[in-house]
Symmetry: C2
Subunit: 317 residues, 2 copies
């Protein structure tokens, strides 16, 4: 008899197929579990799968009195109340690195699409404006990648992969992270200094209480009027209203976003800009990274039900 | 008194500002020079500037009986009838390498935007479909870059820069060019073998009579139904109708194009596809590459009028 596992966040069904072959999944699909399942059904649940960014409070954990393992699909776990989990002796797992290449790729795609104005360019062709030789101020030549100063905030697995990719475009790479890393890029001791130096800020930091809104109006202003910001980490790291303001009054030039303050909502104030590129949190969304993340989820759940420590455990938890 | 130089192709005025400070430009702006200028005005013209892709026949050269130098803005010179120039003792110059990084960047942008469906993703956010959790078959996970087989056709300066960038994305790189080069990528002895091996074909070959329509229905079919083609070289290298057919009947999955058979026209048959990304021949279109191309044009014209050989001469001419 397969073990029962609650699926807490809303996931496309296709992502749960392999996991569903091994475990008996109760799919709450983004709703509070007690609205979807009876207390009796939930009483036997010892493990759950969640998207790391989805808020998961102690109260929610208490709906499953035997809950002892929270397994995040993906590398993030910022939505999980780790203190609440710890006090309930619930272990927390994730999928470190499984989607690092895929997320780094999206970061670079957003960077390149924003700086070379790809969406404007595609529209210029499709609309017939190119054939009509219609003047387009947005199509004026922009600075390219060689020599461009790219600042990376966060030098974990994703930050490193972003840096390696960006460096191949002959750009200069600088970074800020809590500590200097053994990487061949210029280190800045704080985010302010990095923002003063770079023209593009790539946000690749692990989200948490200490990174909430650290990319604020002041940091954006330091990027300068040619500045761009790219965020593939979590929406919470940027003060989204400050970003809208900075784009509105041209304090910075452009933005590329894969993550937002309240997903799946990108506010109209953002979607109205022609100089932004917006993707629907698809950083980790490749076939290979989903397979790798599922491998981690299955390995974590299998170990848990065998009474072993999770192989991909969140150490802070 | 500055020397008189005919501007043959249609260029944005801003690109000719620096050149216009040194030479007296007669701007035909894409029209036959004899429709814009009198025979007397043209009689004194000894040098001209053209976009390398613009057709330039011997008859056109004969409108300027003293013409002795054709200077191409950019690396290409496929539009220039080199035999006609040679028989008239007209030297031909270009701007080799000046835009290589910029063009390679566009190639990689198109590759990434096509394979990760960036335009579909941006539209999914802006339309509100993401917020409404509307199912979208186009947004299903796709293969990522690590391990992907990227075939590069042509290993000149642009091909090398494409290869270096693509390799940083952890992809496998193979190439075909007329001869094996001293590069750390897998060599294929012909285009058929490269197309059989790769899933994405990047066209970076110098265009000319020998490359006309070499990427034909057969080559496209070899890429397979997950295959993509990216062209940043010249529209003439692909049989554009064969490409439309291959996309229509799903012989290949997608395409990214910066160049077209008849510019500035992208046919409706292409612009109707959601699985293509189209840019308006902006490969070399960055501030730095325009400056570098203008440097080459100015150096070529200055040398010519001083009676010296062109520093950036087309050797085939």
């Amino acid at each position: 008899m397969p073990e029962r596992v609650l699926v807490y966040s809303r996931f496309p069904k296709s992502l749960m197929l392999r996991i569903g072959e091994r475990f008996d999944l109760l799919d709450a699909a983004g709703k509070p579990p007690n609205e979807v399942f009876t207390a009796e059904q939930l009483s036997g649940v010892r493990a759950m799968i969640t998207a790391g960014g989805t808020p998961l409070s102690g109260n929610m954990m208490d709906m499953m009195p035997k809950l002892a393992a929270i397994v995040c699909y993906g590398t993030g776990y910022d939505g999980v109340d780790l203190k609440a989990a710890k006090s309930r002796k619930i272990t927390v797992g994730h999928s470190p690195g499984a989607n690092a290449a895929s997320v780094a790729d999206i970061a670079v795609i957003l960077l390149l699409a924003v700086t070379r104005r790809l969406l404007v360019a595609d529209h210029y062709v499709r609309s017939g404006d190119w054939a009509a030789a219609k003047p387009s101020p947005m199509m004026r030549p922009q600075p390219g990648m060689p020599g461009r100063k790219i600042g990376i905030y966060g030098m974990g697995e994703i930050g490193r992969k972003i840096a390696a990719r960006v460096a191949a475009f002959e750009a200069e790479v600088g970074y800020f992270s809590r500590s200097r890393r053994d990487v061949p890029y210029r280190y800045f001791p704080n985010l302010e200094a990095l923002a003063d130096w770079c023209s593009v800020l790539m946000i690749a930091v692990r989200a948490g209480a200490d990174t909430h809104h650290v990319v604020n109006a002041d940091i954006l202003k330091r990027l300068g009027e040619d500045g761009c910001v790219v965020n593939i980490a979590r929406g919470s790291v940027i003060d989204q209203q400050a970003l809208v303001n900075a784009l509105t009054d041209k304090t910075i030039a452009a933005a590329g976003l894969d993550v937002y303050a309240r997903e799946p909502h990108a506010p109209d104030a953002l979607t109205a800009f022609p100089n932004v590129v917006l993707s629907p949190h698809i950083g980790g969304h490749t076939l290979e990274s989903h397979t790798a993340m599922q491998d981690c989820v299955i390995a974590n759940l299998t170990a848990f039900f065998e009474g072993k420590p999770l192989p991909y455990v969140v150490r802070e938890a």
